[in-house]
Subunit: 250 residues, 8 copies
Amino acid sequence: MNNKKELTQLLEEVASGKTPVEEAVLRFRELPFEDLGYAKTDLHRGMRQGVAEVIYGAGKTPEQILGIVQSLWKHRQKTILITRMSEDAKELVAASFPLEYEPVSRTGIVGEKAEPDGRGTIVVATGGTSDIPVAEEAALTAEAFGNHVVRVYDVGVAGIHRLFAHQRDILSARVIIAIAGMEGALASVIGGMADCPVIAVPTSVGYGASFGGLSALLSMLNSCASGVSVVNIDNGFGAGYLASMINHLD
Amino acid sequence: MNNKKELTQLLEEVASGKTPVEEAVLRFRELPFEDLGYAKTDLHRGMRQGVAEVIYGAGKTPEQILGIVQSLWKHRQKTILITRMSEDAKELVAASFPLEYEPVSRTGIVGEKAEPDGRGTIVVATGGTSDIPVAEEAALTAEAFGNHVVRVYDVGVAGIHRLFAHQRDILSARVIIAIAGMEGALASVIGGMADCPVIAVPTSVGYGASFGGLSALLSMLNSCASGVSVVNIDNGFGAGYLASMINHLD
Amino acid sequence: MNNKKELTQLLEEVASGKTPVEEAVLRFRELPFEDLGYAKTDLHRGMRQGVAEVIYGAGKTPEQILGIVQSLWKHRQKTILITRMSEDAKELVAASFPLEYEPVSRTGIVGEKAEPDGRGTIVVATGGTSDIPVAEEAALTAEAFGNHVVRVYDVGVAGIHRLFAHQRDILSARVIIAIAGMEGALASVIGGMADCPVIAVPTSVGYGASFGGLSALLSMLNSCASGVSVVNIDNGFGAGYLASMINHLD
Amino acid sequence: MNNKKELTQLLEEVASGKTPVEEAVLRFRELPFEDLGYAKTDLHRGMRQGVAEVIYGAGKTPEQILGIVQSLWKHRQKTILITRMSEDAKELVAASFPLEYEPVSRTGIVGEKAEPDGRGTIVVATGGTSDIPVAEEAALTAEAFGNHVVRVYDVGVAGIHRLFAHQRDILSARVIIAIAGMEGALASVIGGMADCPVIAVPTSVGYGASFGGLSALLSMLNSCASGVSVVNIDNGFGAGYLASMINHLD
Amino acid sequence: MNNKKELTQLLEEVASGKTPVEEAVLRFRELPFEDLGYAKTDLHRGMRQGVAEVIYGAGKTPEQILGIVQSLWKHRQKTILITRMSEDAKELVAASFPLEYEPVSRTGIVGEKAEPDGRGTIVVATGGTSDIPVAEEAALTAEAFGNHVVRVYDVGVAGIHRLFAHQRDILSARVIIAIAGMEGALASVIGGMADCPVIAVPTSVGYGASFGGLSALLSMLNSCASGVSVVNIDNGFGAGYLASMINHLD
Amino acid sequence: MNNKKELTQLLEEVASGKTPVEEAVLRFRELPFEDLGYAKTDLHRGMRQGVAEVIYGAGKTPEQILGIVQSLWKHRQKTILITRMSEDAKELVAASFPLEYEPVSRTGIVGEKAEPDGRGTIVVATGGTSDIPVAEEAALTAEAFGNHVVRVYDVGVAGIHRLFAHQRDILSARVIIAIAGMEGALASVIGGMADCPVIAVPTSVGYGASFGGLSALLSMLNSCASGVSVVNIDNGFGAGYLASMINHLD
Amino acid sequence: MNNKKELTQLLEEVASGKTPVEEAVLRFRELPFEDLGYAKTDLHRGMRQGVAEVIYGAGKTPEQILGIVQSLWKHRQKTILITRMSEDAKELVAASFPLEYEPVSRTGIVGEKAEPDGRGTIVVATGGTSDIPVAEEAALTAEAFGNHVVRVYDVGVAGIHRLFAHQRDILSARVIIAIAGMEGALASVIGGMADCPVIAVPTSVGYGASFGGLSALLSMLNSCASGVSVVNIDNGFGAGYLASMINHLD
Amino acid sequence: MNNKKELTQLLEEVASGKTPVEEAVLRFRELPFEDLGYAKTDLHRGMRQGVAEVIYGAGKTPEQILGIVQSLWKHRQKTILITRMSEDAKELVAASFPLEYEPVSRTGIVGEKAEPDGRGTIVVATGGTSDIPVAEEAALTAEAFGNHVVRVYDVGVAGIHRLFAHQRDILSARVIIAIAGMEGALASVIGGMADCPVIAVPTSVGYGASFGGLSALLSMLNSCASGVSVVNIDNGFGAGYLASMINHLD
């Protein structure tokens, strides 16, 4: 039982007699997590948070990632998102599971993507070309969780007419993810134009006094535009996840 | 014309002949801002962003604040929110305008609060008693913009049963604002429980290695829970504004 | 002899016999600085750098400031600029010298301002109302050294149409001083619009993660727009001085 | 004479005549350290601190490590713990000594582990899978010094029910080592549940604004829970050593 | 029921029939916290952690502190410790409760101190005279919770013979609290001498590159001596609390 | 149409009938940028800023760089500067375009350098030998945009007579670029000697407490000499671009 | 017995029979420190380090300072230096002891200054007027310990001819103390000119990115000139003490 | 003419007629530096500072290092010290010059070491084994410039008896170089024992919160012991150079 929809459906089937009570009990008696020793896969996250367990690949061995995929798959999770997945992990997982892998953002998806059932459009905008890996992590995460995504790349404020050419996309979005390194001004400019929530993602793109994304992070936190909030440096996944959550609010 | 609702209404009146074209033209020919020399009041923000201009009181003299209030009032803005308003500014503004002033958060409202027309409930939670000034700024902002707010104060993770006693509030919220100083763990714990967007506000509460809120800020940015985004240290207004925006998405 | 113009004029008078050699020798035999014990007034700065000695008032006692003014005045410096001048110092100096004092930026000028002989216009722009003290220090410095200044205040990127309303000023300037706190995005946006040098001044305006201007500083240093350079936080004087230097290049 | 127990025993043997005075004198006349030139092995640490000299492997060549092992072995140290031991050093030492090597934490033990004589149980808990190398360093250190260790891995606060499933372990521990990267909230939550000392170990796990463990470190230092103290980032050894010390207090 | 001893005692009385079951039920049915609106007093902390709720006075108004004292007192907490208590709060509380107030550390105790029932001695050492306020907070906390405390002040490493004169105190302690600002070397030197846990408290004493205690904090975290752990800058209370916890382990 | 000169020329030809209106219209109807998906090449930058689009090579794949070169070349940009160009990118671009590549600074130029039409001389000075890669990036950028450049390398303040030997260069420059790592004092010393704008470039040269150029950056921002402004660490391009802009002011 | 000279003299008197052995024994039997509770006055520092105990006044109450003065005076210390002495402490001490107080640096001396017996001259140079308080602390410390001091104030590198006018002082010094805030370049320039040790003292003079002296500190630590070492920000005393130590080496 | 001794000797020979004036003139007419384009070798440093030019190898190509060696050699410099010399540079230089190379510290010496003519002994002490590379750079530098060096390695404060075993070395030194990473307490402890100048060198040895030597650096700057000054992190050369300078003062 990986999300609220399934939970609701099961309860309705019980109510209508379609599913016998005994079978439903069995489904509920699953432990809320499976203990693999090195990891405890969170099997109730879908029910608790509406979106099922995701695997953050960095710092895990290929074997550990495979083990977690096996655990989630066994418990009938339909979409398993794996971020920051190394080439090695990809090889290992792809040998046993249907894996879609996007190399720029190093994102993998085991199983099927959700149908686009979000209420509006999520715009993913970047300041420059070098921000694209983070942007793709955000976009693929949002798509995996059932959202329609519009990509608007390389619209940094140094040539602001490029951004204004996309004004219609900005104004009709339900959520916007603004991704930029260097001085991160993109978030403020978009925040001043749009009337929907803007999730700002600082990236570690830049050099010198960008200090690995610190400059963009501080810039975005201090945005003079309202309606802007910030996630961790390079955290495309976090932005995509939150955008999906907002886009599914009814 | 301070927000999209008014804009839509005016256009409908024009369409139905209720408002003559000439009068509508006059309304539209207002400049999008008034230039006071020391400030340019943004008169189209309501139309552009759905919420009218807000006055950030810090760093402005009482006279400047009064001048901006006069400009917005003259242009028919119905609710004028003033944050970080000094006692002096309060005295000066209250002499000429109907002002409601909340001293803990130093927030003032000129005119009438919006009717609660948000779609759900906004929970404002704090880790401790000392975070309340920031929390009230957030709560009053959300209320001023038409939201129903539930306050859950002093539920820091050192005695986590106090938070769990409010589990029902957490689970039924449409947006949660999690406010904490020190180590800011509250945002992660709430983020792990809730299935709605969590806006984390680090506060400058603490001492020593809290470094004026830096510790809580970093903690919240690195939250292992998904669905959490962060605004600036002590930025209760920003959190309330964003929460209201999310709560008004249809 | 406080600047190159005077130096050139003297030499021409000697060449033409108008000034006897002996008198010129006397003028040249002045020491390049006067030693007051607590300060060594730089009497050749005008000749060396084209602009005469300026007094940075912070950290000096009113008596020390008065002493330096007396030394410069005695050596025929025509315009004595004093920045960050306290009320006390103002009182003391004004008792003996013709002093013009601007209280917002705490800038004093003893003697006469230079005639506007710069080649173009210097635009001084700010993101917000709270940046005005720094902006006035920049503007008054530039005016004291003979420049025509256009002030464009409160045009931060949260309402970018306010900046675009001044596009003509931006495009016709010879130098622009862009002053902003918080996220400092103004410098990048102006830098992308203008085709002249932009001097960015971060201010300590803001709170929380603005860390006393650090955020705006880093933002401006990482500007993705070309033609932007940066001076110290709140250094209105430095920006005005440099702008004047550029505006006087032939 | 590597620890207080041995010291006490020797003195008792002298008292009972079992060991002649001359022989005891010889034992005492050993220098308190041996000077290898590049290192001075601390031979009295066991007597002074109850636990014998440990070799911190990082920054030492394999040859230096071998030399120190030889020195300690020669002076009858029974358990020689080597942390952060490279593969090369492992090869070299294993060629001459009985070495047990654990590759995840890169910890080596020459000689025999102490018998578990601590008074209670030490719980080693981690927020995630990536913290395991640090956790194993802590656990192996504690085991080498004679403690019973319970491992509770991947119980981070994003799915707090995983931690609560181990509540009994937490409540019955004599000391707890809480290890986490990212926002490090685990230490606070455990600190609020447990009634025994909690040693918090921040790890460099995370990315972006985790700044190599700084975020978790600050978070743990600012813990709102009492009874929590902190050791250096990734310092599993230090935590295991201190936990053992506390667990051996009578 | 404010601590485990009371809990055990009550259960024994129930077992022996001395306390009727009904009365015990009443005692247990108390809520685990009382909600004062601005604070939720943690009434089960004693049972959960062995030590009852403590009031951190900074950032709370005198009225809030009084309210919390009233709540705890009403629920029969015998010793109420208040740290960082302002003169104003002291006046207000002392008007209604038996308050002992120590002005150097601004610590207040309402009710009676616990009997010294810790197993050994806690040594509180400082590097200098200026560290005494933090040291007294630690010492008074430990005394309030039932510990025997030995104060060893002004034994910084610049005159290390002063520390060595107290070697006997150091060697016979069960726990040591080492408090120092500036370079914080005291913790390492004591850590190298002692065979018991050392709790290091960096203080904000110092100037320039001490950066408000950051220097001492980093120094202590990097201590080359084992058995040392660190609490927040100036956190005398936290050190005293933890020391008491260790000293009460049986 | 890549710069203002071309724009002016076209308009003059239209005025004189030399170019038919229809053809001019076609030229103007070009979009202001071309969208390559991963990049939007700014085709109006020349017209808007006087200098055409430059390619910042870091973080772009060789294929992306080639694509952008093709786009700019197709739109008749005569000089295409590529900074931080990898060896791989160089190979790929050189296969299809006339590329001049300077390996020390990793700078490439496709097409022809502009004729030196700046009004004066740009001096590029470095503190040491290790700063030369940054200096060459600055010098080549300035040369590509039509400036006469004088290189003055290894004149750091530790042997200040080496700098004074170049006093004539310093005094006759129109703009000076002062490049230094370590303590960055060169900018202040040159700033005190020269009467023209000084652009300071901190470099990441140094070790230990130079913290990747932070020390030089802070030093330059705090320069006590007037007329000095700063660009990002290692930003030779930015300095060369700005110097060219100042040198082309009439 | 406050210094080595006195120690040597006493032993010679014993050798020659001038002082009876019994009296010498008494002198030696003094404890090496006196314990005042809040302070342990180091009575052997003179013997151990050649210079007697100094009182750092900051963070000590006037009563504590008086107490320490009484202790040192009682043990026959002839010169008692008190740094960072408040007006209040001055009043209190001056009531009972012969005190010389210098208000700019807030330095007090009880008793008599040592005769100038250093081997050469100590030059104390500052970058600006605002650095004088720190400079006076250094100069008075050096004078109190028996050195000839030459003050060279306000010779910052922005007008480097002012420094060169003192070249003879620089070249003939035995030690130089270079004191500067802002970018701290003075230390490097002096370091490059002089052939004697240079002690650099960063000051907290400056604003914005000087970050309380951090900028000058880093600058001085990274000095490209050899022979330069650094003490803490604003630590005039430390520099004066060390300079005296070097100046008394034979 | 590479140092003052040679200068004095030449002038004496001229005075005595031993060297004809013409030849002396030739010697003096050498330029004070030779310009190699990428470097300006400082040929008067010996005369100006008493010690000849040193080559800092990091960031220079082997060819550049060779070129500078050739220039110095040609101008009769007798001892050429090269620090941070790569293996490649070593190979290249050794092919043409008599080079002594020490691999641990990567230090090279071309030509002959100076005779030990310093007045006393320089002690080089380290906290641990991993600090030895920095210590050897310091020791070899001091030896190259004519000093007697005593090495005292691995005497960190965790086992302070190891340091006290060298008390005689400490007390009889003329200068001490104290080298330590981690918490850097060694400098303070030695500073409290010794009566001679102590030069503290923080090293980048450590992990986690040592932040590349920052912790040791701050610790040493804040040393409570007097007579301690600090050089840059890992700057063994700087310490050795300064120690030699002090040891040669007469």
